[in-house]
Every structure is written in C-alpha cells, then in structure tokens.
C-alpha cells in the first residue's frame, strides 16, 4: 500500500499539472508561454477587461448555462423521480437512451442537431446551443438527483399523505425540501458543464459565440495567449468553486436523509 500511495500522489500531480500551470503563466509578464518565468503581472487580466467581444461571449455563455441548467435539472427531476419510485415498462431502454449523451461523442450530438435545425429552415443561435447543452447535462442531473431521491425514505411521503396532505402538498412540504440539496447540486453541475462545453457550442452557436468558442478563436493568435491563460484561470477557478459548492450541497442532502451514497456519477 505504501508504494501504491506514492503512485497515487504522482498520479494526482499528473492530473493537476496542467491546471497548476495556468496561473503561473497568467501572472507571468512574458508574452511567450514558456519557462523560465519572468516577473509577476496582472496585466493580462486587465487586457481581458478591454476585450469587449469577450464580454458578449461571457454574457451569452451565462445566458445559455443558466437556461440549460434549469431545463436539464427540471427534466432530471421527472426522470429521477420516475426511476426511483416506479417501475414501468421499457424502463431500462428509456433510461438508457436518456443517459446516452453521457458516452455519445459530443460531435455526434452537435452534427445531428445541426442537420435537423438547418433542414427545418431554422438558423442556429443561443437557443440551439441550449437545446444541445440541455441534452448533455440531463444525464448528469439525473445521476445526482436519482441518488437524492433514492436516499429519500418513501415512507416519509406516505407519512405526509397519511397525515392528510395531498400528493401536491406532500411534494412541496416533504419531497422538495429533502431533495433540494440534490437539486442545487444538479443545477450547479449542469451550469458548469454548459459553461465549459465547446464542441456543441462551436457547431450550433450562431452569430454570438459562447465563451469557450471565443476562447478557441483567441488561441489562434499568439499575442493573445497570455490573456487566454488569464481567462482560463478565471474559468477554472470558477468551475472548481462551483463544483465544491455542489458537492457541499450533495453531502448535506445525503446527511439529512441519512445515507451517503458515493460522490458524483
């Protein structure tokens, strides 16, 4: 186990190495992204403030991520409730299909949506990115919500019903408060996925690019690379922050309902 632990620590370093490089170069005054480092600067972050195109991208990314997160979580609630409470005909097939985007290469999702959208004579835009992102976020939302619903003792709802509540008020008074941490966690995860997603946005974004698409276009200009690093740093820090908060909520929910059933996925 000792040697395994050493291996594990090296593995973690390998996992995190690229991410740790980000801030190094983001705060490095040299315009070339290479060692040795030059001096400390926050210039690249200030540069970001001047890129008005980026602000538009950020705005459309936020808009898309919030909408997708809400849609994916809502769809996730329905499906998670259905599978954790009821068994219905074709359950395996239906759920397998809903979860398919988890393994399906994103380019397939992107291409197939693009074909249909163009064929039907619509033009792409933020809405089509939302459609795609909702599709890929829903499986994650379901996975989180399913464990939230599964750890909820069904006799709690029966008890509320037994004490005179209707199905609707039972949901409001008992189910919702108890799975709320799971819902928040699903919202945050979906938001994060949508904020970071590139390919679907690349194919389906119309005139206004999302942040990752804009970032991708920045990468072609060596002059802009330090700013890419700065923006990357911000995005990564935000993602990690959101994920930590999501995990916090998920655990609180698990603790409340009494059993912790693992982490994400």
């Amino acid at each position: 186990m000792k040697s395994l632990k050493v291996y594990a620590i090296f593995y973690l370093i390998f996992l995190y190495a690229p991410i740790f490089l980000l801030p190094l170069f983001a705060f490095n005054s040299s315009t070339v992204i290479a060692f040795p480092l030059d001096s400390f600067t926050t210039e690249w972050f200030t540069t970001l403030l001047t890129l008005s195109e980026m602000h538009g991208a950020l705005l459309s990314s936020l808009k898309i991520a919030v909408t997708s997160a809400v849609l994916a979580t809502s769809l996730g609630i329905f499906a998670a409730m259905a599978v954790s409470r009821y068994s219905f005909p074709g359950q395996k097939g239906i759920m397998g299909f809903i979860m398919l985007p988890l393994v399906l290469p994103e380019i397939i999702v992107a291409v197939s949506l693009l074909i249909v959208i163009l064929r039907m004579g619509f033009s792409t835009g933020a809405w089509s990115v939302i459609v795609g992102h909702t599709l890929i976020c829903t499986p994650f939302a379901i996975a989180i919500l399913q464990s939230a619903f599964a750890s909820l003792d069904p006799s709690l709802e029966e008890a509320a019903y037994d004490l005179g509540e209707t199905p609707a008020s039972t949901f409001r008074l008992v189910t919702l408060p108890l799975v709320m941490p799971g819902i928040i966690s699903a919202l945050l995860i979906s938001f994060t996925i949508s904020m970071d997603e590139f390919i679907i946005a690349f194919f389906l974004t119309g005139a206004e690019p999302t942040l990752p698409v804009y970032l991708f276009s920045m990468m072609r200009f060596p002059k802009l690379l330090p700013a890419v690093m700065a923006l990357g740093t911000i995005l990564v820090v935000l993602s990690v922050l959101l994920i930590v908060i999501a995990e916090f909520f998920r655990r609180r929910g698990a603790k409340r309902t009494g059993n912790d059933t693992g982490g994400f996925l």
């Binding site: 973690l12 996992l15 190495a17 690229p18 490089l21 329905f78 299909f97 399906l104 994103e106 990752p212």
Partner: protein, 297 residues
Amino acid sequence: MVEKLRRFFRTEKGTGLLLVSPTAIYALLMLAVPLAAVVLISFWTQNGVRDFDTTMTLANYKEALTDPLYRQLMLRSLMVSGLVTLITVLLAFPIAYFVSFGVKAEHKSLWIFLITIPFWTSYLIRVFLWKVILGYNGVLNSGLKAVGLIEEPLTFILYNVNAVIITLAHAYAPFAILPIFVALEKIDRSLLEAARDLGENRVMTFLRVTLPLAAPGVVAAVLIVFIPTIGDYVTPRLVGGPGGLMIANMIQTQFLRLNNAPLGATLAVLAMLIVAVIAIVFVIIGNRAAGQKGARK
C-alpha cells in the same frame, strides 16, 4: 377510453411512464430524431450549398469506405482510442484499488472528489495546456533544456499521434477510475479474508477473487473511455497536427468547411456503427467472463 387512460396513469406503471415522459420526449425529439436524420442524410447527396438530392444512394458509403484518406482516419481513430483506453484503464486500476482498499473510509470521498475535480474544468483549456506543455518551446522542452537533459527540443511529443494519446489519457483518467472504484467498493471484504483463510496468498487472492469481482467495473471503464474518445474533436485539432487528426475532425470539415453534410453524416454513422459493434462485442466478452463466476447478480 379517456377513463381507461386515466386509470392506467394511476397504476404504478402508468405513473412512472407519465413522470418520465417529459424527459423521454425531449430525448426523443432532440436526440433520436436528429440521429435518425443523420442516418437518413447519409444516403443523400449534396446539391449546392443548402440543397440535397434526396434519392437514396450508397455512394457516400462507397466513398467513405474506399477512399484511403477516410480509411486511414478511421483506423487511426480506432488505434488512438484503443491505446488511450488501454493506458487509462491500466493506470487507473491501481488508483481505484488504492482508494478502495488503502484509504480510510472517511477519506475515500475526499480522494474521489480530488480525482474528479479536474474533469469539471474546461476541457478546451486542459487540452490547450497540453499544447503549452508539449510544444517546441513548451514547458517540457524548456524545462528539460534548463536542467541540461536535452540540447535540442524534443519534437516527437507535439503535433502528432503521441500528443493526442497523452492528452486524451489525461482527460479521461477520472472516467476510468470511478467505475473500477465502485466495483471494488462493492466487494464484500470478508470474501478476501475467506480466500486468505483458505490458504491463498495476497497475490493469488487478488487474482482469484478481487480481479474477477472487479471485472464489471473494468468493462464499464473501458466503454466509458473508448466510446467518447473515438469521436474526440478538440484534442486532435489542438495537439495532433496534420498527422494526428481523427475522424471527428473530418466530420467537422465535411460539415462546416466542405459543405458536404451527407458525407459527414456517413462518416458519423460509420464511426457510431464501429463503436457500437466493438462495444457490444466487449460487453459480451465481459459478461461471459463475469458470468463464469456464478450467480452474483
């Protein structure tokens, strides 16, 4: 009729179906229909910029399967994804094993959380950073030069297949660890003690008990890495160079550059078919291997 339906929705089956229907209908409209459209279009021919000749033809398939360029891209994609899968799973198993068996129960979820965090950060940025690390003037080369290990920068590590493999193996690491970890966690620890009690040493216990019981996790890990990597676009595009491009890049080119959606669709269908066949074969092999170990399910 209406009354009959209403009664059906009050049964367990009916309520379940009713509840799952918004999500299922969404997946049907936004995933099943588009996928079907891809298949359909793959039999059409492009006619001008936005127009299709809708006579059904196998010409695209003929072209995709005979043109050496497409065949090479397909084979390279398969090879890259196979290698990436092998590397990730091999590297991941000891980690999953360590977290499951070598970490105190109260620290396990912290470890798993640490392992998954990088996955939640922007894929695009992570891939880009590998470009920075592996580049001609990159972190690795400048580092190695600084310590005097090399004089000329290494060139075999960027803009080729190697770079694609390294980057993908890094990106998919958490995917491989999680299913194996879950399978290992499910193993009843008294089984291992029983094997020791019956006279097996540590290594044989691992080989005869732990490994077979972890097989479903390994199968899941293989699938969860293999299937998406074959369709990866960003990594070959950013670090692959011309020699490291994969099938997804060609699909994108056909759609957005050459404006030949039917051929792009054909390539997408072929890629999905190949992945599906390999995945099914693998699942069957995995099931058979697991099935021998008796009535675990």
